[in-house]
């Protein structure tokens, strides 16, 4: 059965891997131009083995992660695969011998502590928790690890206390029976190896000493002191009465398959769960940044495999420059860890609601390209490359950035929706409200100085429509929405020359900026409306 399970899981895992590779290739061909892989191996190696990027990002998180990583690596290579590794290295190898017994426990302990650390962080980290959907992502993998480790410890514990196992061993490796002092050995093992016997045994110094001698003769070659299995031993010591019960039902026999089945499950899940990051991060951190070549070739995404390397750790969001934007708009798609999740959805499942897409466009628009997230990403994903390419993708999907949207929109269409918008705007929005108050622009004396000093008017040519003064006049004529839809409002450099030169001291630039806010809001609404229209038609 072990063999069947092993091979099945190996086959499944390989199949999964192949599938993923195929998927990346297929999706990749949709989104990414054919570029050489162009790998840079040194940092990748470094990052893979020592998680150097994570170390740079956060020492504590690195410490916790490294607990799991190192423990896990040990367990995989020196426990699960012991037949391939330690057996060949050490002739005398026995899993119950020190240092192996101790190291196994220690490694398991490390993983256990690390995993608890993971869970702990998930409950207390502030920024990542802003997105509940992501908060619990990957928790399956953590729990699976926990289960494997716990089942391992439980198995060991049970084996320690198990009378039947003890008796089997005695039978296999000695010729002892009741007469030849089996009881003495039992007594010794009860005291020093925590075996739980049904029968009460009389413990005296004498019997214990005899048991010790028997132990030296028969057992010591293969069994180090049980104290070194400090986790399982501790469990065993505190197990108490249920031990007999477990012994009776041969818990060791059925815990063993549980343990390896869980382990195999992990293997199967490797390509489909968070475990996959173990393979993807090396790949991601080996890849070069998005270069201009991508843009020239009109590529719209970074490589899907790189994208999949994200572990939702949320460190990127902790350094995000525009976090305050999120605090006000509560648009999760501002935070990089949410954005990348959405990007993954777009590329792999393509199921995003219009509002979500719009939010993503808006959130991504807020990005200042400060590169903080990319710089810190422990997985080495070129996040900024993604943020740069994302607008093109979204535009193709019908969610252009607001500038393009407004530019392509006829002013007429803009004006037609004016009335309905009038109700929606201005509600509870904290602004200077310059555009809403006549006195902020009515003092215009039509001298056209603002227009004359404006670099956009001077160099804009066909790119521009209105002049700053005409914007003021549109406002006076009650055409706020039309004014908001003009290109001038979007082309404005906010250089404040107009405002500085206005003889009537009208806050021309501030008004134009406020109009751009209005225009942005209007564009958002229109885009959602358009999307809804489209959906309705379909």
């Amino acid at each position: 059965m072990f063999q069947i399970a092993l091979y099945t899981s190996l086959i499944l895992s390989t199949a999964g891997l192949l599938f993923q590779v195929y998927r990346f290739k297929k999706k990749g061909s949709l989104w990414v131009p054919k570029l050489k892989l162009n790998l840079d191996l040194k940092p990748a190696l470094f990052n893979t083995i020592f998680q150097s990027r994570l170390f740079r990002a956060s020492k504590t998180r690195w410490a916790v992660h490294f607990l799991v990583f190192s423990g896990f690596i040990y367990l995989v290579f020196f426990h699960a695969l012991d037949e391939l590794t330690v057996f060949n290295l050490f002739q005398y190898y026995q899993p119950t011998l020190d240092p192996f017994q101790f190291l196994r426990n220690f490694a398991g302990f490390l993983v256990l502590v690390g995993c608890i650390g993971f869970l702990f962080r998930r409950s207390f980290n502030t920024r990542i928790n802003q997105d509940n959907k992501i908060k619990y992502k990957g928790i399956f993998s953590i729990i699976l690890i926990l289960l494997v480790i716990t089942s391992g410890f439980m198995l060991e514990t049970i084996k320690i206390i198990s009378e039947p196992a003890f008796l089997e061993m005695v039978e296999d490796y000695s010729d002892l029976d009741e007469e030849t002092g089996l009881d003495n050995l039992k007594i010794y093992w009860k005291t020093h190896y925590q075996v739980s016997f049904k029968k009460d045994l009389l413990i005296t110094e004498d019997t214990l000493e005899r048991g010790r001698l028997l132990n030296n003769d028969y057992c010591l070659d293969c069994h180090s002191k049980i104290k070194s299995a400090f986790v399982s031993n501790a469990f065993a010591m505190h197990l108490g009465k249920p031990a007999n019960f477990l012994n009776h039902y041969r818990a060791d026999n059925w815990l063993y398959p549980i343990h390896y089945l869980l382990s195999f499950l992990m293997l199967v899940c490797l390509p489909f769960s968070r475990f996959f990051h173990m393979l993807l991060i090396p790949f991601a951190s080996a890849r070069h940044k998005v270069t201009d070549k991508y843009f020239q070739k009109k590529a719209v995404f970074i490589h899907p495999a790189t994208l999949a390397a994200c572990t939702n750790c949320g460190i990127c969001s902790e350094v995000c420059s525009v976090y305050p934007n999120f605090l006000i708009t509560r648009n999760k798609q501002i935070l990089p860890h949410s954005k990348i999740e959405s990007a993954r959805k777009i590329i792999f499942t393509a199921h995003l609601k219009p509002e979500e897409l719009n939010q993503l466009q808006l959130g991504n628009d807020d990005c200042t390209m400060c590169n903080n997230c990319t710089d810190i990403c422990p997985s080495g994903i070129d996040l900024q490359g993604l943020w740069k390419t994302l607008p093109q993708t979204l535009q193709k999907m019908g969610y252009p950035d607001n500038y393009t949207f407004v530019k392509d929109k006829a002013l007429q269409e803009w004006g037609n929706k004016e009335s309905e918008k009038e109700q929606a705007t201005g509600a509870h929005e904290l602004t200077e409200n310059l555009t809403g108050r006549v006195y902020s622009f009515e003092n215009c004396v039509q001298c056209t100085i603002c227009t004359n000093v404006c670099p956009v008017v001077a160099y804009g040519g066909n790119d521009n429509d209105m002049t700053p003064q005409q914007i003021m006049n549109l406002l006076r004529l009650g055409k706020k929405q039309t004014a908001a839809g003009t290109r001038m409002v979007w082309n404005c450099l906010t250089c404040y020359l107009c405002q500085e030169h206005c003889p009537s001291e009208i806050k021309v630039a501030d008004i134009i900026i406020e109009l751009r806010n209005i225009s942005n809001q209007a564009a958002d609404r229109l885009k959602i409306m358009n999307a809804a229209d489209k959906a309705n038609k379909l």
Partner: protein, 533 residues
């Protein structure tokens, strides 16, 4: 812009020497009544010439609130007129919707207004069948936040605002497109009367100085305040009384609805929104002659002091201009001119021994169509034409050249595509060169001569805050560029135009308006030295 919508081009009247132009009906006076009659008669199949001594809406038609009464204002003083207003309102809403903004109206009483008028008001409305609805003052202040906090009673009625310029332009455009003829700047010199009938009218083109005759079967005198002097030419005496009403235009629209004071109609108690501005009025001052009228400082201050009781903001807001109109009243009685008669006077001069001469005067903007209908009825009777009036049913078409008289009109698309090729000549009201060109063509089609004043009449040019300071010279340049003006007339035209604008500003120049006008004087007197020319 749809370029193919120009009015049908008329064969230009080339009248020289003793040439006689013949027609069925000669209408004198290009106000709303005159243009209304022209359209009415044309629709009934008559051939019409309309002459106007200056240009459209030069008299009271251009000097009023632009208010379409629901009738509520007259329920106490003149219930008959009230009913007329109510019926006409419905017809106009249906047929000339593009000239009308259905704002709705509020009648508002503030502390200190007479109690019994307030309490009687709803009953009187009911009697005349005019819908009105009582509104809680608090709620009213939510609807119109600028209302005084001393508001004590509010009634909602169906008042609406109308653009009288657009109305006249559309009426005459429709008449012309159906084959009638409009001659602006054409003045009656004399009537030739023989056998108790007018044989022909000698007219003079005010611009070219040409004199010629127009021979018609019937002559309609629709000259409003000048009805008396025209009638006198035919030897008929009409006793006219002139009452000047002044109005103020604010720089922004203060209320959404028409606001009237809930009291016996007097001065400064109506505020009518018109596009992006509000118009506050009026006064009632007896004057001797309807010529050369303008609002005085005293009137302006009085109107504001009355208006601010209703809407306190009127005290501090910026005013763009003031203008005045003359109510022509055929009066016999005494007292306030408002009491005399707001109903119209239709005189068939058959009784005065001139058979083919009709005078229509008085009345109000709200009932212009009815006045035109009644007048046309008489004309038709004289012509033995038995076609029913059709202005009740046939909607007034909307033409392109009428569009630009609308405040705040934006033909949106050109901005995106043609902004570069189509500069704004008037920046305040955003009138592009293409619009000016359309209007120039339309004026020329009607046989007129495009100049600053006639363009300003048909567009928003000069009506914004700068009051012609910047746009005048730009448009003058444009006219020269197009070759519409040749020779010296340009400067005189400019001076005349600026002076006309000035009449409307000089009484309310303080604060920012004074700043603007100082700038205007700096440009036109300081730099160009126009006062020396």
């Amino acid at each position: 812009m749809k370029k193919n919508q120009h009015p049908v081009k008329l064969p230009l009247l080339v009248a020289t020497g003793d040439d006689i132009v013949e027609t069925d009906v000669l209408i004198i006076g290009g106000g709303v009544t005159g243009t209304g009659i022209a359209r009415d008669l044309t629709l009934r199949g008559l051939d019409v010439i309309l002459i106007e001594t200056s240009d459209l809406n030069a008299g009271a038609s251009g000097g009023n609130h632009g208010l379409l009464h629901s009738g509520a204002r007259y329920v106490c003083s003149d219930p008959e007129a009230a009913v007329e207003c109510a019926t006409e309102l419905e017809i106009l809403k249906k047929n000339a919707g593009h000239c009308i903004e259905e704002t709705g109206g509020l009648f508002v009483a503030v502390k200190g207004d007479k109690e019994n008028y307030i309490t009687d008001f709803p009953d009187m409305c009911k009697k005349s069948g005019i819908p009105s609805k009582k509104i809680d003052p608090k709620e009213a202040r939510e609807m119109e936040p600028s209302l005084s906090d001393e508001t004590i009673a509010v009634y909602k009625v169906n008042d609406a605002s109308i653009n009288p310029f657009k109305l006249s332009i559309e009426n005459i455009n429709d008449a012309v497109s159906r084959g009638s003829c409009y001659l602006s700047h054409t003045r009656i010199e004399t009537f030739k009367i023989e056998n108790k009938a007018i044989v022909y009218a000698r007219v003079r083109n005010q611009i070219s100085g040409e004199i010629y005759k127009i021979k018609a079967k019937t002559y309609v005198n629709a000259t409003g305040a000048w009805a008396g002097s025209i009638a006198a030419m035919a030897g008929i005496h009409i006793s006219m009384v002139f009452s000047k009403g002044s109005l103020l235009v604010t720089s922004k629209r203060i209320t959404k609805r028409v606001i009237s004071r809930l009291r016996k109609p007097t001065d400064g108690d109506i505020l009518v929104p018109g596009g992006v501005v509000s118009i506050l009025g009026t006064t009632s001052v007896r004057i001797k002659s309807p010529d050369n009228i303008y609002p005085t400082v005293k009137e302006v201050d009085y109107i504001i002091s009355e208006g601010e009781k209703l809407i306190p903001e009127l005290k501090t807001c910026r005013y763009i201009r003031a203008y005045a109109g003359v109510r022509p009243l055929v009066s016999m009685g005494k007292g306030d001119d408002r009491d005399v008669s707001r109903g119209f006077t239709l005189l068939d001069h058959e009784k005065d021994q001139v058979h083919n001469f009709i005078t229509i005067t008085g009345g109000k903007l709200s009932t212009y169509r009815l006045m035109a209908e009644k007048t046309s009825d008489i004309v038709c009777k004289k012509h033995r034409v038995s076609v029913e009036c059709r202005t009740k049913t046939i909607p007034l078409p909307s033409t392109h050249s009428g569009e630009w008289s609308e405040p705040g009109v934006l033909v949106n698309d050109p901005f995106k595509s043609d902004a570069l090729e189509d500069p704004f000549l008037c920046e305040c009201e955003m009138v592009p060169a293409s619009a000016i060109n359309t209007v120039i063509d339309s004026i020329k089609n009607n046989g007129g001569k495009p100049d600053l004043s006639s363009i300003a009449l048909r567009t928003r040019v000069g009506k914004g805050p700068c009051q012609g300071a910047f746009c005048s010279i730009r448009i003058l340049s444009h006219l020269h560029d197009r070759g519409e003006i040749i020779g010296q007339t340009g400067i005189n035209d400019l001076k005349y135009f600026l002076n006309e604008r000035w009449k409307g500003e000089q009484s309310l120049l303080w604060g920012q308006a004074l700043v603007q006008s100082s700038l205007k004087e700096m440009i036109h007197c300081g730099l160009f030295g126009l006062e020396l020319v």
